[in-house]
C-alpha cells in the first residue's frame, strides 16, 4: 500500500527519519514574530523537524509542509490544522513521552520547545494508513444516535460486548498511565478588575482601569499580548501593531497593581470567582526546579471585563475537512505572526469582507491566489481591486462544491450562480463564514446567548454573571476601532464601579477596514460529507437526521448528535449547527436558540485542580502528641477521621495483626495497657448556665452531677436518632469538660454552637474546643492504679474510696505538671484517663511505660480498644449509624422524662418506638472455631437468603481473648426477646454463612465488678 502523493515542494520530499531534519520549506523568507536566529529540533510521529522560538507546534508543522496531523474521532478521516487558536478541533496530538505523555493537546496552543516529541492520535497502524478509516464506509450506521440504536439488544451484551467495544473505540489519545512527576499549585488572586483577553479590547480595558488606580489582573491565554493584532497587518496611531503593543505592554507592566498573566486561560466564571489555569511550564520540556507545571488561579474580582475575542466560523460544504482547508484568519495568522505559508497556491472561500485581508496578505507573502470565491452576489469595488491586484479570479454567487485530494487538498471545484463549474488546483483553501463572539464565560451562569439578526451572530446573554461586562469582538464588535473604544469604556466603567475615578484613555487611531458579511454557511448539493462539528464528527446529514427523528430542540440535537459537546464546547460548530437546524426545521435562528456553554472553556488537567493536595498532602493529617513515641514503638497507624492513630504495636515474632491485638487486649484485662485517647473531642463548657445547657443537649440529667464526677451522656439529633456519645466531667459548679467521639468532634461542636446561638441565646454559657490543649492517655487494667501511683504527685489519693469510678480531679503529676485525672473505663477494667498539657504528652507516655514496666504494661492501639469495648458491649461508630435510637442501643432508660432535650419529642414517635425495630444484641458463633465477619446479614434459620428475610446485621466483630472465640455486636429485629435463638450470619460478599447464637451484648463482667476495685 503506497501512500498517495501529497502536494509538497520538491525539497521537502524523501527525507528519511534518520537523516538530518529538513529545512522549513513553507517558512517565509522574512516577517513574523518568530526568532529566526535560533532553531529548535522536534519530532512528529518519530520524524525530525525544526522550527523557531515563537512557533507553536502547528505553525512549525505547517512550516515543514506537514498537513496531515490526525484522524477524526468517529470516522477516522484524515484531518489537518483548521485554526491557529484554542478552538482547534482537529490537530489534537500527544506531547512528550513516558510519565509526562499528555494526550489531546491542541497543536495550535502548544508552544514549540527544543526536543518536543509529538505524536498523532487515533490511528492504527499509522497516520497515513489508518485501518479504522473503514468507518467512513459504514458511515450510515455511525450516524447520529448510533450508540442509542445499535447497542440496544440483546441486553446481555451491554456489559460483556458493547461496553468494552465502545470503550476501545472511544477517545482519542492515551493517558500516560504513570504518576505525574510534576507538581501543581492552586492560588487565589484578588483584584478590582479582571480583564480576560489581551487583544485590542482587553488591553484598552486594562489600561483604563489600571490608570485609574484599580488593582487589575489581565489574563491572556497566549504567550504574547495582542490577540488578533498579532495576526493582522494593522497600524495603530501610525505604528505597526507589534510596536504599538510593545508600548502598551510596557506601560501596564510598569504599574505595580496591574498583574499580567500570560499563558493563562480563564476557563470558568463561577459563583463568586473565576477559575484560570496558568501553564507555567508547559512550554518547556520539564518544569524548572521549584516551579509547578501549571498553576490554578481562583480570581476574586470586583468587576470583570470579558474581552475574549471571537472565533471564525468554518463554511459547511462537502469535503470541508480535508487537510489544507483552513480558517482564513488562521491562514493570516500563520503568514503574519509565524512567517509561514500554509500552502503554495490558495483559493479563498468566504461570505464576508475579511476576504480582502486574506487575499492581500497571501499575495503580499508571495502565495499564489487562484481565486476568491464569494458566496455573495455582489462584492465591494475594494474587494474586486484587491483580487485583481493579487491575480485571483473573482467568482461571486459561487461556492465550493467538490474538493480533490484525500490526505491533502489538491484542488476544488467551484460552482457559480449560473451553474458553471470551475476546476481550480490549489493546496490551500482559506475559508471564512464570519466570526462568532467568544462569549462562553458570559453564559457560565446559565444565561443563554441571544441571536442578533443584524450582525448574524449570537451575542452575549442579557443576564451576565454578576459584575461582568463584555467588550470587543466577544460582544460582536468586529471593527478594530470599535473594539478599542469599547474596551476603554468597559475598563473605565469597571474601575468606576469599584470606587475609582477613571479618565478613559484616548483611543488610538486605526487604518480603515470593512467587516460586511452575509449569512451563508451551508453549501447544498456538494459532494462528500459536509462537517459542522469537526471534533465530534457531526455532519449535515446528522443534523438532518436528528431533525427528521424529532430532535428539534437544540438541547436534544446536542445530546443526540454530540454536536458542541466534549472539550470543544461548540467553539467552531455552535452557530453553524444552530443555523442549520433552524433552516431544516423551518424556524428562525432566534426561535431555535442555542445550548448553554459550560465550564471549562478549554480542558483543565486534574493535577491543576488538585494542586498541592495529592499523595501524602491529599488532606491535612492530624498527629497525636504521642505520634513519634508510638512510631518508635513500631506502631502501625490508621486514619481515624483526619487523625492518624496507632492501630496496633506489633512485637518481634508476632505473625500477624490478630496475634498482636489479642496480646494487647489480653494484657489490659490481665495487667495494664496505655492508649492515646487525645483524639476524642474535648469541649470546655463554662458559664452559670452550663449545666442547664447540658440538660438540653443530652438525653440524661446533669444538674445533680457533683463537682469532681463524670457521667456518660448521649445526645440525639432533633429527629430522635443518636448523634454522639461520650463522658462529661464537672470540673466546677460552672465548668464542664465534654468528650465526643473522635470522628464527630467537629460536628458536635457545630451543633452545640447552633443550640446556643440560635435556639437558646438567653443561656449564659461559653464553649471552646480543648481537644488539642490536652494530651490524654488511657491507662487501663487491674494494675493501672499501681502504675498511676508512680506518676501522680503526693499527696493525691487515687485509691478506690478517695477516687472511685467516674471521679475526676485537677492535680499535678511527675513533679508539678498540671494535669487532669478521670477514672473512666471503655474497656470494662479499672481504668483512668490522664490529661496533661499537650507538650508533655510524649514524655508522659514514656514515663508511664517506665512506671508500668514492672507490671507488664503494653501500649495498645485502636484495634485492641475495639476488642475491649466489643467484649463490654459498648457502642461506637459502627453502631452510631445515624439510624439508631437510644432505645435501639439499649440506652433508652437514660432518657429523662422530666425535661425537654434535643430529639426528645421525635424519639417518641411510633416509628422509633416500634418494638419490631432492630436492637443491639451480642452474637457468638455456634461453632466456636468459626470466624465472624462484620457486615454479615442476620437471617432466620431455614429462610431463603433474600432481602425479604433480612433481620439485621453484624455491626462489629472481634476475636475475644477473654472468651477465646469470635464475638460480635449486631442489630437484630426484636433482638432482646430472642436471647438464645440461633440465627444465620449470611455474608454474600465474602461467601460466608454460619449459625450464630443471640446473647446479651455484654460478654465480659456483666455486673461491672472490675470497674469498682
Amino acid at each position: 500500500m503506497s501512500a498517495p502523493a501529497m502536494i509538497l515542494p520538491r525539497q521537502a520530499v524523501a527525507t528519511s527519519a534518520a537523516g538530518p531534519a529538513p529545512a522549513q520549506p513553507f517558512r517565509l523568507a522574512a516577517g513574523g514574530l518568530v526568532d529566526r536566529t535560533a532553531t529548535l529540533d522536534f519530532t512528529f510521529d518519530g520524524r525530525r523537524y525544526t522550527g523557531h522560538p515563537g512557533d507553536t507546534l502547528a505553525s512549525a508543522l505547517l512550516a515543514n509542509g506537514v498537513r496531515l496531523v490526525g484522524r477524526s474521532f468517529k470516522y477516522h478521516r484524515p484531518r489537518g490544522i483548521l485554526s491557529s487558536g484554542p478552538e482547534e478541533p482537529n490537530a489534537l496530538v500527544e506531547l512528550r513521552s513516558g510519565a509526562r505523555r499528555e494526550p489531546n493537546t491542541r497543536a495550535t496552543m502548544a508552544e514549540l520547545f527544543a526536543g518536543l516529541e509529538a505524536r498523532s492520535q487515533n490511528r492504527w497502524p499509522s497516520l497515513r494508513f489508518d485501518l479504522m478509516g473503514v468507518n467512513q464506509l459504514v458511515a450510515p450506521i455511525l450516524a447520529a444516535g448510533f450508540y442509542y440504536k445499535t447497542f440496544m439488544w440483546p441486553a446481555a451484551f451491554w456489559e460483556t460486548v458493547y461496553e468494552p467495544l465502545i470503550r476501545r473505540a472511544a477517545g482519542l489519545g492515551r493517558a500516560a498511565g504513570e504518576p505525574d512527576p510534576d507538581h501543581y499549585e492552586k492560588a487565589t488572586l484578588h483584584c478590582d478588575v479582571l480583564v480576560t483577553g489581551a487583544g485590542p479590547a482587553g488591553l484598552m480595558a486594562a489600561l483604563a482601569a489600571a490608570r485609574a488606580g484599580a488593582r487589575v489582573v489581565l489574563c491572556e491565554e497566549d504567550v504574547r499580548l495582542g490577540g488578533r493584532l498579532l495576526a493582522e497587518r494593522r497600524t495603530l496611531d501610525g505604528l505597526p501593531a507589534p510596536d504599538w503593543l510593545r508600548g502598551v505592554e510596557a506601560e501596564l507592566r510598569a504599574m505595580p497593581d496591574c498583574r499580567i498573566l500570560t499563558r493563562t486561560t480563564v476557563f470558568g466564571a463561577f459563583d463568586g470567582a473565576c477559575g484560570a489555569v496558568e501553564r507555567v511550564s508547559d512550554h518547556l520540556a520539564t518544569p524548572p526546579e521549584f516551579q509547578p507545571r501549571q498553576r490554578l488561579w481562583r480570581i476574586v474580582a470586583g468587576r470583570q471585563v470579558l474581552a475574549a475575542g471571537s472565533i471564525e466560523r468554518p463554511l459547511v460544504f462537502g469535503g470541508n475537512d480535508r487537510p489544507g482547508i483552513m480558517l482564513a484568519g488562521a491562514v493570516r495568522s500563520y503568514l503574519n505572526r509565524f512567517g509561514v505559508a500554509a500552502g503554495r497556491r490558495a483559493v479563498v472561500f468566504t461570505n464576508n469582507d475579511d476576504a480582502a485581508c486574506t487575499v492581500a496578505d497571501l499575495a503580499a507573502a508571495g502565495v499564489a491566489v487562484a481565486a476568491l470565491v464569494d458566496m455573495r452576489r455582489e462584492v465591494s469595488p475594494e474587494i474586486r481591486r484587491i483580487a485583481e491586484a493579487a491575480g485571483a479570479s473573482l467568482l461571486t454567487d459561487a461556492a465550493v462544491t467538490r474538493v480533490r485530494g484525500r490526505t491533502a487538498l489538491r484542488g476544488v471545484e467551484v460552482t457559480d450562480g449560473a451553474g458553471r463549474r470551475h476546476a481550480l488546483d490549489c493546496d490551500l483553501l482559506a475559508m471564512s463564514g464570519g466570526w462568532s463572539p467568544s462569549l462562553h464565560l458570559a453564559s457560565h451562569h446559565g444565561g443563554k446567548a441571544a441571536w442578533n439578526e443584524a450582525r448574524a451572530t449570537f451575542l452575549p446573554p442579557e443576564q451576565l454573571p454578576p459584575g461582568m461586562a463584555v467588550a470587543g469582538a466577544a460582544n460582536g464588535d468586529l471593527l478594530l476601532a470599535e473594539c478599542l473604544a469599547a474596551g476603554a469604556r468597559a475598563g473605565a466603567a469597571a474601575a468606576q464601579a469599584t470606587g475609582f475615578r477613571p479618565a478613559p484613555p484616548a483611543t488610538p487611531s486605526v487604518d480603515g477596514e470593512s467587516t460586511a458579511s452575509a449569512p451563508f454557511w451551508w453549501v447544498r448539493g456538494g459532494r462528500g460529507k459536509a462537517f459542522v462539528d469537526f471534533q465530534n464528527d457531526v455532519g449535515v446529514e446528522d443534523v438532518a437526521l436528528a431533525n427528521r427523528e424529532g430532535f428539534r430542540s437544540v438541547e436534544h440535537l446536542k445530546r443526540y448528535t454530540t454536536l458542541g459537546m466534549a472539550t470543544d464546547q461548540g467553539k467552531t460548530s455552535n452557530a453553524n449547527g444552530v443555523a442549520l437546524l433552524a433552516e431544516l426545521s423551518g424556524r428562525t435562528i432566534a426561535g431555535t436558540g442555542t445550548t448553554t456553554f459550560r465550564p471549562p472553556y478549554t480542558p483543565v488537567a486534574i493535577g491543576a485542580l488538585a494542586g498541592h493536595h495529592r499523595g501524602k498532602a491529599f488532606r491535612p493529617v492530624r498527629r497525636t502528641p504521642t505520634h513519634d513515641w508510638a512510631a518508635e514503638q513500631g506502631a502501625v497507624f490508621v486514619e481515624a477521621g483526619p487523625w492518624l492513630r496507632a492501630q496496633y504495636f506489633p512485637r518481634p515474632g508476632e505473625s500477624d495483626w490478630l496475634e498482636t491485638v489479642t496480646r494487647e487486649a489480653r494484657t489490659v484485662r490481665e495487667a495494664v495497657g496505655l492508649c492515646d485517647v487525645t483524639t476524642l473531642g474535648k469541649i470546655d463548657i463554662q458559664g452559670p448556665d452550663a449545666a442547664t445547657f447540658l440538660e438540653r443537649v443530652y438525653i440524661n440529667t446533669w444538674k445533680a452531677l457533683p463537682v469532681g464526677r463524670a457521667r456518660y451522656g448521649v445526645m440525639l439529633r432533633e429527629d430522635g436518632m443518636v448523634m454522639d456519645d461520650g463522658t462529661t466531667a464537672r470540673l466546677a459548679e460552672d465548668r464542664f469538660v465534654m468528650t465526643t467521639t473522635t470522628v464527630n468532634a467537629v460536628r458536635v461542636s457545630q451543633h452545640l454552637e447552633f443550640c446556643h446561638q440560635w435556639l437558646w441565646p438567653e443561656l449564659d454559657v461559653q464553649m471552646i474546643s480543648v481537644t488539642e490543649q490536652w494530651a490524654q492517655i488511657a491507662v487501663a487494667g487491674p494494675r493501672s492504679r499501681a502504675v498511676l501511683e508512680r506518676v501522680v504527685d503526693a499527696p493525691f489519693d487515687i485509691g478506690n474510696d478517695a477516687f472511685p469510678h467516674m471521679a475526676c480531679a485537677a492535680l499535678t503529676v511527675c513533679g508539678g505538671i498540671k494535669a487532669r485525672l478521670f477514672r473512666l473505663s471503655f474497656s470494662g477494667e479499672m481504668a483512668y484517663e490522664i490529661a496533661v498539657p499537650a507538650r508533655f504528652g510524649d514524655a508522659l507516655a514514656r514515663r508511664l511505660m517506665e512506671a508500668g514496666a514492672p507490671f507488664g504494661i503494653t501500649p495498645y492501639g485502636t484495634e485492641a480498644l475495639g476488642v475491649l469495648r466489643i467484649e463490654k458491649g459498648h457502642v461506637a461508630g459502627n453502631e452510631l449509624t445515624g439510624q439508631t435510637t437510644a432505645a435501639d442501643l439499649g440506652l433508652g432508660r437514660m432518657m429523662s422524662r422530666k425535661k425537654d432535650f434535643i430529639g426528645r419529642a421525635m424519639a417518641q414517635r411510633p416509628g422509633l418506638t416500634d418494638p419490631a425495630r432492630p436492637v443491639l444484641v451480642g452474637l457468638r458463633p455456634v461453632d466456636r472455631a468459626a470466624r465472624l465477619r462484620g457486615g454479615a446479614h442476620l437471617l432466620p434459620r431455614g429462610a431463603e437468603s433474600t432481602a425479604a428475610h433480612d433481620q439485621g446485621y453484624l455491626t462489629s466483630v472481634a476475636f475475644s481473648p477473654a472468651l477465646g472465640h469470635w464475638i460480635g455486636l449486631g442489630l437484630l429485629v426484636r433482638g432482646r426477646e430472642r436471647m438464645g435463638e440461633i440465627v444465620r450470619a449470611h455474608d454474600p460478599v465474602r461467601g460466608g454463612d454460619l449459625e450464630v447464637e443471640v446473647v446479651p451484648p455484654v460478654f465480659v463482667d456483666p455486673e461491672g465488678a472490675r470497674l469498682h476495685v
Binding site: 492560588a187 487565589t188 521549584f290 461559653q766
Partner: protein
C-alpha cells in the same frame, strides 16, 4: 510518687529543621519560624458582660479589646479577636501563669481557657510571604485589604488558622491546631520553595 518534671515537646519537633530550602539565591523570599515561649488563653465574655470586661482589661493592661478582627497590644501581651465577644490573649515570655493573671483581673466577667498547648504558631515573613500564603489562603492579603494589626480566622491549605499581620515587611503570625503542624509546615515550605525559604531556629 514521682520525680523530675516531664520534658516538653514542640508540635514541630522533628518536622521542621532549620536551614535553607527551595530556590537558591542571596536572600530567601520567605522566612519561616516556629514561635516559642508563648502563653495563649482564650477569653469569652460572659453574657452581657462585654462592657465591664473591656473596662477591666483596659484597667489592668491599658489595652482596648478589639471588637473587629484586629490584634491589639504588644509583643509581651496582645489580645487577638477570635469571634464575637471572644479573644485570644497571647503573651510572650510572660512571668508566671497567664491564665491565673487574667483570672485575677477579670474574675467572673469572662470564661478563660488555657490554649497554649493546643496551638502551633508560625511566623512567616519576607518579600514573597504574600505570594506563598496565597497558594493556600483565599483571603486578600494585599496591603490595601490587610494591614499590620489585622486578624483573620480562615483556612490555609484546608487547615483552620488564625492569622495576624505584625509589620509591613510583611510579617505574619499564623496559629493553628497543634496536631496540624506537620501538614501546615509541609504546605508553607512547598508554597515558598520557588522563592527560596529559610527556616530559622524557633524563637
Amino acid at each position: 510518687m514521682s520525680d523530675t518534671a516531664l520534658a516538653a515537646r514542640s508540635p514541630l519537633a522533628g518536622l521542621l529543621r532549620p536551614g535553607r530550602q527551595g530556590a537558591r539565591g542571596d536572600l530567601p523570599g520567605v522566612v519561616v519560624q516556629e514561635r516559642t515561649g508563648l502563653q495563649i488563653v482564650s477569653l469569652a465574655a460572659r453574657k452581657g458582660q462585654e462592657v465591664p470586661l473591656m473596662a477591666a482589661v483596659r484597667a489592668a493592661w491599658g489595652i482596648d479589646l478589639p471588637t473587629t478582627p484586629r490584634r491589639v497590644g504588644d509583643a509581651r501581651l496582645a489580645f487577638v479577636w477570635s469571634g464575637p465577644s471572644q479573644w485570644l490573649a497571647v503573651a510572650t515570655d510572660w512571668p508566671g501563669d497567664l491564665e491565673a493573671a487574667l483570672r485575677a483581673h477579670l474574675g467572673g466577667l469572662g470564661s478563660l481557657t488555657d490554649q497554649g498547648d493546643g496551638r502551633v504558631v508560625l511566623r512567616v515573613r519576607g518579600p514573597h510571604a504574600r505570594d506563598a500564603l496565597a497558594k493556600g489562603m483565599a483571603i486578600d492579603l494585599h496591603p490595601r485589604a490587610f494591614q499590620p494589626g489585622d486578624v483573620a480566622a480562615t483556612l490555609a491549605a484546608h487547615i483552620g488558622v488564625q492569622i495576624w499581620q505584625l509589620d509591613e515587611a510583611p510579617t505574619y503570625e499564623m496559629a493553628a491546631f497543634r496536631s496540624t503542624a506537620g501538614s501546615l509546615c509541609d504546605w508553607i515550605v512547598a508554597a515558598s520553595a520557588e522563592y527560596g525559604v529559610e527556616i530559622v531556629e524557633p524563637g
